[in-house]
C-alpha cells in the first residue's frame, strides 16, 4: 500500500474519532442526569422487595430475595383498590375537563381580536402566578358553602381551576403556531366556530394536548395537598393520601410506602407510553407550502 493511500485512510479515520469523543463529552451531562434520576428510583424499587429490617440494615443494596410480600400486603388491604379507583376517577375527570376547557379558551384567545385575546391571556398568566397556599383557606370556605367538601366533585372542581391556567398557557402557545390559513379555509368552507375548533384545531393540537395531558396527569395523580384538604372519608381517599397511612407517629413502614409509590407510578408510565407517539413533531406537515 502506498504512503499516499495510508495518508488518505488516516484522514478518513481522524474525523470519526473526533466525532466520537465530542459525542461522549456531549452526552456526559445527560449520563450524570440519568444517574441522578435512576439511582433513587432504583433504590425505591429495590426497597419494595425488602422488609423493614433489611431496609434499615442495607438501604442501598440489592434485595436478598425478590419477595412480593409488600405488594401482597398492600393489596391485602381491600381499600387500596378503592383508593386506586378514586385516584383514577379524580385524575381522569380532572385532566379531561382541563383539556376540554383549556383548548376552548386557547381557541378563543387565538381567534378573538388581538387586544381582547391578549387581555384574556394576561388573566390566565396572572392565574398561574398565584401561589396555591394563598387560595387554600378561601377554597376550603367556598367548597364548604357549596356543600362540596369531602366530595370528589369538589376536589375535581378545585383541581381543574388550579391547573387550567398552565394548560391554557401551553395550548395557546401551540395553537398560535398553527397556520392561520387552515382556520380561514375552514371558515370559507362553511365551518362555524365550534366546527373549526372541533374538526380542525383540536385534531391538529394532538401533540400539545398529549403534552398537557401528561403534565396535568402527573401533577393531579400525585397531588396530596388538595385531597388532604378536602377529603376526609376513608372511602373517598386517593392513593397519595392513602399512602400517608403507612407513616406512623413512631415508625414509618417505608417498604410499604415505596410499594404504594411503585403501584401509583404504573398508570403514569402507561399514560406516557401511550401518549408518547403524539409528541411526534410535524403534525401539520403537508398542509401548507413546502
Amino acid at each position: 500500500m502506498s504512503n499516499s493511500k495510508l495518508d488518505l485512510q488516516k484522514a478518513d479515520k481522524k474525523p470519526k474519532e473526533n466525532i466520537t469523543k465530542v459525542d461522549i463529552w456531549r452526552q456526559f451531562p445527560l449520563l450524570i442526569y440519568a444517574i441522578i434520576i435512576i439511582t433513587p428510583l432504583s433504590l425505591v424499587f429495590f426497597a419494595t422487595f425488602k422488609n423493614l429490617k433489611q431496609l434499615y440494615s442495607d438501604p442501598l443494596g440489592v434485595p436478598e430475595s425478590w419477595s412480593l410480600a409488600n405488594y401482597k400486603a398492600l393489596f391485602a388491604n381491600e381499600n387500596m383498590l378503592i383508593y386506586f379507583k378514586n385516584s383514577v376517577i379524580v385524575t381522569c375527570i380532572s385532566v379531561f375537563s382541563i383539556l376540554l376547557l383549556a383548548s376552548m379558551i386557547a381557541y378563543a384567545i387565538v381567534r378573538l381580536p388581538k387586544w381582547i385575546g391578549n387581555i384574556v391571556f394576561g388573566f390566565v398568566v396572572v392565574g398561574m402566578m398565584v401561589p396555591t397556599q394563598v387560595n387554600m383557606i378561601p377554597q376550603y370556605l367556598l367548597l364548604d358553602r357549596l356543600n362540596l367538601l369531602d366530595k370528589h366533585l369538589g376536589l375535581i372542581c378545585v383541581t381543574v381551576a388550579t391547573f387550567l391556567p398552565i394548560a391554557v398557557f401551553i395550548l395557546t402557545g401551540f395553537m398560535k403556531t398553527l397556520p392561520k390559513g387552515l382556520i380561514e379555509a375552514a371558515s370559507i368552507d362553511g365551518a362555524s366556530h365550534w366546527q373549526i375548533y372541533s374538526r380542525v384545531m383540536l385534531p391538529l393540537s394532538g401533540p400539545s394536548l398529549a403534552t398537557t395531558a401528561i403534565f396535568c396527569f402527573v401533577i393531579v395523580w400525585n397531588d396530596l395537598l388538595y385531597p388532604l384538604l378536602f377529603i376526609k372519608s376513608d372511602s373517598l381517599k386517593t392513593m397519595p393520601l392513602a399512602l400517608l397511612e403507612f407513616q406512623g407517629q413512631y415508625l414509618t413502614n417505608y417498604p410499604m410506602i415505596f410499594s404504594g409509590v411503585v403501584v401509583a407510578s404504573i398508570p403514569m408510565i402507561i399514560i406516557y407510553v401511550f401518549l408518547q407517539r403524539y409528541f411526534i413533531a410535524g403534525m401539520t406537515a403537508g398542509s401548507m407550502k413546502g
Binding site: 380561514e184 380542525v200 398542509s287 407550502k289
Partner: protein, 368 residues
C-alpha cells in the same frame, strides 16, 4: 355564478391605507386578475371579498346581495390559498368533501361530486392520500378540487401558483384557465406575476400602493397603458423609458433627449403637460435596428451595441446613444445582424410611442 361589485372600498390598518377608493364591477363568469407588486393591496382586496377582512368603507355585492359584513360561509364563495391550506389530518377525499359535509349534503352526492372533480383534475388516484404524501402540484390540484366541488358563485384565488416551479406553473396556468372556462364561474385571481395576469385574465386590474391604476383587457393594458407604472410593470423586458423634453419646431413636435431627436406622430398640447419634461416610452419589440427606414418609423437614432443577450428565438440588444442614453431592443434572432461593439441605427415604431408626464407619470395623449 354571479356578478361581483366593489363600490368605494377603503381598507385602513391604523395609519396605513391598504386599499383606497376601489371600484370594480366584475361580470358574471368573468376571469379578473388583480396584479401589482407586493404591498399594493391586491390580497387585501381579495380577502375583503372573501369576508376574511372587513372594509373600512364601501360596499361589496355578490349578485344582488350586500355581503360587506357577511360571514365567509354565507357568501357562497370558494378560495384557493397561496399556501394550499389543506387539512393535514384529512385525506384528499375528506379535504374535498369537508365543505359539502358541513352543508349536510347527502353522502352519495358528496361522493359523486368529489369523484367528478377529482377526475377533472386528474387526482382520482390520490383520494386516499394525506396532503403530506403529495407533491406541490398535486396539493395545488387538491386545493382547486376543494373549491370546485362546492360549485360556488365566485372563485377567489390568492397567488395559487407562486409556490410551484416554473414548468409546473405554466402547466397549471393553462389548466386553471380551461377549468374556469369550463365551469364559467366568476373568478378573482390575485398575482404579482404579470405574465400570469396577461395570459389568464379576461380583464386585468393593475394596482399600486392601494390604488387601482388601470382596468382593462390584457391587450389594452399592454398597448395602451394609463401611466408609467402600468407601462413599466407589464411586459418583459419592460418598456424603455427615456427622459427628455418636448420641443415644437416649425409646427412639428419633437422629443429630444441625450443623443435622440425624434419627431412625434401627433401633437402635444402644452396644457396637458405640467412641464416641458416628458418621458418617452417604447417597448423593446417596437424598436428596429439597422433596417431600411419606412414611413411608420422615426428618424434614425445613432447608437452603439453594448451587449447582446441571446435568448435563442430572439435577442435582447442593449444600446447606448452617443449622449449616454441607454435602452434595449428585442429582435428576432433570424433578423438580427447586431454585434456587440458595432455602431447601428435604431428606429422607433411611430404608432407605438407613448409619452408620459415626467412629474405625474400619467400618459399624455397625442392629438392628430
Amino acid at each position: 355564478m354571479a356578478e361581483v361589485k366593489l363600490q368605494g372600498i377603503y381598507k385602513r390598518f391604523k395609519d396605513t391605507v391598504a386599499v383606497s377608493n376601489f371600484n370594480l364591477e366584475i361580470k358574471d363568469g368573468e376571469f379578473i386578475v388583480l396584479v401589482g407588486p407586493s404591498g399594493c393591496g391586491k390580497s387585501t382586496t381579495l380577502r375583503m371579498v372573501a369576508g376574511l377582512e372587513q372594509p373600512s368603507e364601501g360596499k361589496i355585492y355578490i349578485g344582488d346581495k350586500d355581503v360587506t359584513y357577511a360571514e365567509p360561509k354565507n357568501r357562497d364563495i370558494a378560495m384557493v390559498f397561496q399556501d394550499y391550506a389543506l387539512y393535514p389530518h384529512m385525506n384528499v377525499f375528506k379535504n374535498m368533501a369537508f365543505g359539502l359535509q358541513l352543508r349536510k349534503m347527502p353522502k352519495d352526492e358528496i361522493k359523486k361530486r368529489v369523484e367528478t372533480a377529482a377526475e377533472r383534475l386528474g387526482i382520482s388516484h390520490l383520494l386516499h392520500r394525506t396532503p403530506r404524501q403529495l407533491s406541490g402540484g398535486q396539493r395545488q390540484r387538491v386545493a382547486l378540487g376543494r373549491s370546485i366541488v362546492r360549485d360556488p358563485q365566485v372563485f377567489l384565488m390568492d397567488e395559487p401558483l407562486s409556490n410551484l416551479d416554473a414548468k409546473l406553473r405554466v402547466q397549471m396556468r393553462a389548466e386553471i384557465v380551461k377549468l374556469q372556462k369550463g365551469l364559467n364561474t366568476t373568478t378573482i385571481y390575485v398575482t404579482h406575476d404579470q405574465v400570469e395576469a396577461m395570459t389568464m385574465g379576461d380583464r386585468i386590474v393593475v394596482m399600486k400602493d392601494g390604488f387601482m391604476q388601470q382596468v382593462g383587457t390584457p391587450s389594452e393594458i399592454y398597448h395602451e397603458p394609463a401611466n408609467m407604472f402600468v407601462a413599466g410593470f407589464v411586459g418583459s423586458p419592460s418598456m424603455n423609458f427615456i427622459e427628455g423634453e418636448f420641443v415644437q419646431k416649425d409646427g412639428k413636435c419633437f422629443f429630444t433627449a441625450q443623443g435622440i431627436e425624434v419627431e412625434l406622430p401627433g401633437k402635444l398640447s402644452d396644457k396637458s403637460l405640467s412641464s416641458k419634461s416628458v418621458v418617452l416610452g417604447i417597448r423593446p419589440e417596437d424598436i428596429r435596428v439597422d433596417v431600411e427606414k419606412t414611413d411608420n418609423l422615426t428618424s434614425p437614432v445613432e447608437c452603439k451595441v453594448e451587449l447582446i443577450e441571446d435568448l435563442g428565438a430572439e435577442e435582447i440588444v442593449f444600446l447606448k446613444t452617443k449622449g449616454g442614453q441607454e435602452f434595449k431592443a428585442r429582435i428576432s434572432s433570424d433578423l438580427s445582424k447586431a454585434q456587440a461593439g458595432n455602431n447601428v441605427n435604431a428606429y422607433f415604431k411611430l404608432n407605438k410611442i407613448h409619452i408620459f408626464d415626467a412629474e405625474e407619470g400619467s400618459k399624455v395623449p397625442l392629438s392628430a
